[in-house]
């Protein structure tokens, strides 16, 4: 029995860079170099591990984004994914999470899937709700925020560590799953993997291929709006002392002065 996995990934501005907003209040994607979102590497890794543990698994990595987003696909392909699909359309600029979930759901359906795998959230928008929205749109179970995931006999199983309890989850395929940064470190692409990735197919898709009306996506089609963005003022420099044997007592005096003690 074959298993088709689609891994959804995002090309994001490097979180260690000096990120800003563009004039239209969307994320400035030019000011800072982009890369495959670190949290999506965990999803690619788990897809590869499922492939290693099962027969006849095919992994397609899917992204929505501008021309640069190809870099994210290339990275995932060099890690070992089999093929890629890239939804790229000028009308997508400024699309909110609702529109993104519409586009990805249509693309996933077109590609064909048994399991959709996602990271726990992006590192730019950080909403963490896209997998749930995909499940809602596709009408399949969501098995999300997993620190452990496996597939066997047509079901996906996993462990979800919540604030009050750790849960064991199970759902029949097809399903949408997401994994956290606790699921296992992602592998580095090998030289062989990097060379092989250059020959792997990347399917180009636009909104007309997916049968989506441009009015339903983009900044104008968003269901929420950002009215104002403001850079947080830098914290004013405080007092830093070197411990000469009294550091703990000095700190206690500071805490007492601020009435914490």
């Amino acid at each position: 029995m074959s298993l088709r996995i689609v891994v959804c990934v995002k090309y994001v501005p490097d979180a260690t860079g000096d990120r800003h907003f563009a004039e239209d209040h969307t994320t400035d994607r030019d000011a800072v170099d982009g890369l495959l979102s670190e949290l999506d590497e965990y999803a690619v890794e788990q897809a590869l591990q499922i492939k290693e543990a099962n027969d006849d698994v095919e992994i397609t990595v899917l992204t929505m984004g501008g021309d640069d987003a190809k870099d994210a696909l290339r990275k995932a392909l060099s890690m070992g994914a089999d093929k890629a699909a890239h939804v790229n359309d000028e009308a997508l600029h400024g699309t909110d999470v609702m529109g993104t979930s519409l586009v990805l759901a249509k693309a996933v359906e077109q590609i064909g899937y048994d399991l959709v795998l996602c990271g726990m959230s992006s590192t730019d928008g950080v909403m963490g709700v896209l997998p749930a929205l995909l499940a809602e749109r596709l009408g399949v179970p969501q098995v999300t925020l997993l620190s452990e995931v496996s597939v066997a006999d047509g079901t996906v199983n996993g462990r979800r560590d919540g604030d009050t309890a750790s849960q064991r989850l199970s759902a029949a395929l097809p399903a949408v799953a997401s994994v956290t940064d606790q699921s296992g470190e992602a592998r580095y692409p090998s030289f062989k993997g990097i060379m092989a990735a250059k020959k792997k197919p990347v399917l180009a898709l636009d909104l007309s291929d997916l049968g989506i009306d441009p009015a339903d996506v983009g900044l104008a089609g968003a269901w929420s709006a950002v009215d104002e963005v403001a850079e947080r003022p830098a914290r004013t420099a405080g007092t830093v002392v070197k411990d000469e044997g009294e550091g703990g007592r000095q700190l206690a005096a500071f805490l007492a002065e601020r009435r914490f003690v």
């Binding site: 950080v126 909403m127 199970s170 269901w223 104002e228 947080r232 206690a252």
Partner: protein, 320 residues
């Protein structure tokens, strides 16, 4: 004023503090109405009324405990369609955010997650969010449908506004998707007796410099003397020294306490994202060049194994 639905976060009827914050915020934009799913609605109603909820829509069914997320979405959708509220507020937990997203999609409504403040506006509620590792503050609103907004813990101080709460039993008609993801088993987390990380007034966190699981006792001793929660950096969690539930940072919890004490934490962006909105920040680190010192109100360059025990003893002595 229209009604504002608030999803109650509770453990068997014991209402958690973020819900009281939601009820307080809800009163700024309308009349709070609580939705209580699972057992204990009658117990919860007294607390919910204390904070201004005159009505508590209450449903209990095995589906809420046995299946993930969707049963709650079905229940909220049913109440939302009956009440036609001006907004729906939920806590910003991983699970409640997923509930919020699916609800918003079903209602054809926009979604805002992780608000840290909320106020009434000419075109509906205006939410404040802290983004890009807390480097920016954003004000946004929902432009279509009924605003569905999740709010982070510690975003408001709960203010009582006592009314008498009426419990309205709700019979939920679950859809076929409700039983899609089975919760096969559940292992409750061990109760440490310490405050909840995201709700605590004081947080003491340890990082790479703690250098071993057993050494976290130094962090815990100070935390217990201050009545604080214990946090950990990603480096400490990845090393297996402390549980992931205690991780502060981009992929862990975001905290905004009155006082944050970072011990042996360098202050990488991944950590700063989770703590730099704290009111007062204190750090102890061996490395004078550590970026954490750029954020502090007070910093000590030194060995945390010397400084922290001395601080703990001094706090104990001052409490006398």
């Amino acid at each position: 004023m229209g009604e504002v639905l608030v999803l109650v976060d509770h453990v068997d009827g014991a209402v958690r503090k973020p819900t009281l914050e939601l009820l307080t915020l809800a009163r700024r934009i309308g009349e709070p109405v609580a939705v209580h799913l699972g057992p204990g609605a009658d117990t919860a109603a007294a607390t919910l009324g204390e904070y201004g909820a005159s009505t508590v829509h209450a449903a209990d069914a095995p589906e809420f405990a046995d299946y993930l997320v969707v049963p709650q979405v079905d229940a909220l959708e049913q109440v939302a369609k009956a009440v036609n509220p001006v907004a729906v507020l939920l806590p910003s937990s991983g699970e409640a955010k997923e509930v919020a997203a699916r609800l918003a999609l079903r209602l054809g409504s926009g979604l805002i997650t992780d608000a840290v403040d909320l106020e009434a506006g000419a075109e509906g509620p205006v939410a404040t969010q802290s983004v890009f590792a807390a480097g920016f503050t954003v004000r946004s609103r929902v432009s279509r449908g009924t605003p569905v907004i999740t709010v982070k813990p510690n975003s408001a101080t709960p203010e009582p506004a006592p009314v008498s709460a009426t419990v309205q039993p709700l019979k939920v008609l679950f859809g076929s998707a409700a039983t899609g993801t089975k919760i096969v088993s559940r292992t409750p987390r061990e109760d440490t007796g310490r405050p909840e990380l995201t709700e605590a007034a004081i947080v003491v966190s340890g990082g790479r410099g703690v250098n071993g699981a057993e050494n976290f006792a130094v962090i815990e001793a100070l935390a217990d003397e201050l009545g604080a929660a214990v946090g950990a950096s990603r480096a400490a969690v990845d090393a297996g020294w402390y549980p992931h539930t205690n991780q502060v940072g981009q992929t862990g919890k975001t905290v905004s306490p009155q006082l944050y004490i970072a011990a042996g934490i360098s202050g990488a962006i991944q950590h700063r994202a989770g703590m730099q909105t704290s009111k007062t920040i204190v750090a102890v680190n061996k490395d004078a060049e550590a970026p954490i010192f750029d954020l502090v109100d007070y910093g000590v360059v030194g060995d945390l194994f010397q400084v922290l025990p001395q601080l703990t003893d001094e706090v104990k002595a001052r409490k006398g």
